[in-house]
């Protein structure tokens, strides 16, 4: 069964029509990459999936978004956001220690027991492939980590809330190639247990990690297919142009 099903989705911010008639499904345990030029609505689409757009004052929408067959508006907001975690473009640790950053979500959801928290923090940091680098300084400030480490810390923080889906919004845009490779490796490993949606400005990244790739342009979904097809034989001229343009 599909993890997400999006039907006739339209989104406006005031007068701006950010997404137009989007229909697509996101499968269980796949990595769906979303590519497209700036302002094509990629971030808006992603933030729709855990209802973060609703923080914007002039947000309006029509259409339906279903998770596991259930409309997301009918799910408790906190439960939905736990199920659907998001990693932002800039790593955004909270002004706390490494440990407290990871323990933040579980604590929020009522876990108090020290041993339980320790266990969750260790497991999450290991899953995000950062445990070895931070295990000796769990209680120092998260801001002392490098950009790439901070981003993997944010992944650990999201994993700690036990999500089913993880959304990545250009997670590597501020990172060097080595950190990028580490984050990509992390994503590939997470695929076994999670459904992943990856928005990226880096077409090569989509080619490297995506099972399927969607191309957005001006708020419309132009094409969605397996990553192989999109990169070798796209059906739409615009997809082809974008990919070639990016490849140079």
């Amino acid at each position: 069964m599909d993890k997400f099903k999006i039907e006739q989705l339209n989104i406006w911010f005031g007068k701006i029509h950010a997404l137009r008639d989007i229909n697509l499904s996101i499968y269980n345990n796949e990595i769906l990459s979303i590519i497209g030029p700036a302002n094509s609505g990629k971030t808006t689409f992603l933030r729709m999936l855990n209802r973060l757009n609703e923080l914007e004052p002039y947000f309006r929408m029509s259409g339906r978004v279903l998770i596991d067959g259930r409309e997301i508006q009918t799910i408790d907001l906190e439960v939905l956001r736990r199920k659907v975690g998001i990693i932002f473009a800039l790593p955004l640790p909270l002004p706390l220690s490494i440990y407290d950053n990871v323990a933040y979500g579980p604590r929020m959801h009522g876990i108090r027991q020290k041993s339980r928290l320790d266990e969750i923090v260790e497991r999450s940091l290991k899953q995000a492939y950062i445990w070895e680098e931070v295990k000796d300084r769990l209680f120092s400030s998260a801001f002392k980590l490098s950009g790439g480490q901070q981003q993997r810390l944010c992944i650990a923080r999201t994993l700690a809330t036990d999500p089913e889906v993880i959304l990545f919004d250009e997670p590597c845009s501020g990172l060097d190639p080595i950190s990028t490779a580490k984050v990509e490796e992390t994503m590939l490993n997470l695929k076994k247990n999670y459904t992943i949606v990856l928005v990226t400005n880096n077409v090569k990244q989509a080619a490297r990690v995506g099972d399927r790739t969607a191309f957005f342009l001006s708020g419309e979904l132009i094409e969605l297919d397996t990553t192989d097809k999109i990169f070798t034989a796209p059906k739409d001229k615009r997809t082809d142009g974008y990919i070639r343009g990016k490849f140079g």
Partner: protein
């Protein structure tokens, strides 16, 4: 071309020096005031011991010989200020949180306008309103011989501290990066958890500064406390007793004292005490405001 540049440089030079002059002038006048205050105030200690002045339990400046102990006045000021802080800090911070985080657009505008209006009321007017409304009310509710008490003063001063606390605390809350909030929401935190566990701690230094500045305003306030605290210079036992503050003492007695008398110097010495208290408060507030996040 080069002429134009030198002309512009000259203009810049003159403007810079003018601004420097203004800055120096203001520092100069502050120094002048400060030196005058010190000179007149310290003169008292030629005849009265510092400890007798600060810790003396009775203030009878016109008896013969005068007794110039300001402990009752210090305690009066502290009591009234403390009471005002207890009332205004929780309400003020809660109000700031409500305005910054919860209130919908319209309500927010109305509240902010209301707070500004409160800040704009002259303290004499507040004192006057307090005198005809609050004082009789306190007298009746607590069944007292007089409503002119520390409690009335505290309530009145709480109103004066509130606008400062609300507006600065609100700014502090706004200056917490939006991304923190989004990050917390994205982890499934409720609005309340985000406010309590993230926004308030992140804004804590700004909020503390707001509280300190609010208290600073209260300590220095004169008119309203003089009108409604009863002005009796005895060491206060409860909130329901009349008190007299440092500021009210200066304001009430300066006009009647003989220039150059011990009493006159004592009033200046009270000024020094007040100055030190406000200075400490302002510096503390400043420390909180400019504290670098760890």
């Amino acid at each position: 071309m080069t002429k134009k540049i030198t002309l512009r440089k000259l203009k810049e030079f003159i403007i810079e020096k003018l601004i420097l002059l203004c800055g120096l002038a203001s520092i100069f006048f502050v120094m002048l005031i400060f030196i005058f205050l010190l000179k007149e105030g310290l003169a008292l200690f030629k005849t009265v011991k510092v400890s007798n002045f600060l810790l003396g339990k009775s203030w009878y400046p016109i008896s013969e010989p005068p007794e110039l102990g300001i402990l009752p006045l210090i305690l009066g000021s502290l009591l009234v200020t403390f009471g005002a802080a207890i009332i205004s800090v929780p309400i003020g911070v809660a109000c700031a949180v409500y305005i910054a985080e919860i209130a919908p657009g319209k309500v927010k505008e109305v509240l902010k306008a209301g707070i500004e209006l409160l800040a704009a009321i002259p303290s004499v007017v507040l004192g006057f309103i307090g005198m005809v409304t609050l004082v009789p009310w306190v007298k009746k509710v607590f069944n007292l011989p007089t409503g002119l008490t520390a409690l009335s003063g505290s309530i009145m001063l709480a109103f004066m501290a509130m606008p400062t606390i609300v507006s600065i605390a609100e700014d502090a809350l706004y200056s917490v990066p939006r991304s923190y909030k989004e990050g917390a929401f994205a982890l499934g935190a409720t609005h309340w958890q985000t406010i309590w566990r993230l926004l308030l701690p992140a804004a804590s230094s700004g909020i503390l500064a707001a509280v300190m500045l609010g208290i600073g305003r209260v300590i220095g306030e004169t008119m309203a406390v003089m009108m409604i605290t009863g002005n009796s210079a005895v060491i206060p036992q409860t909130f329901l007793a009349p008190v007299r503050t440092l500021t009210a003492t200066i304001a009430a007695e300066m006009g009647e004292t003989v220039v150059g008398s011990e009493h006159y110097f004592a009033l200046f010495a009270i000024g020094i005490v007040l100055f030190i208290i406000s200075f400490v408060i302002n510096v503390t507030a400043d420390l909180f405001l400019h504290r670098k996040p760890k």
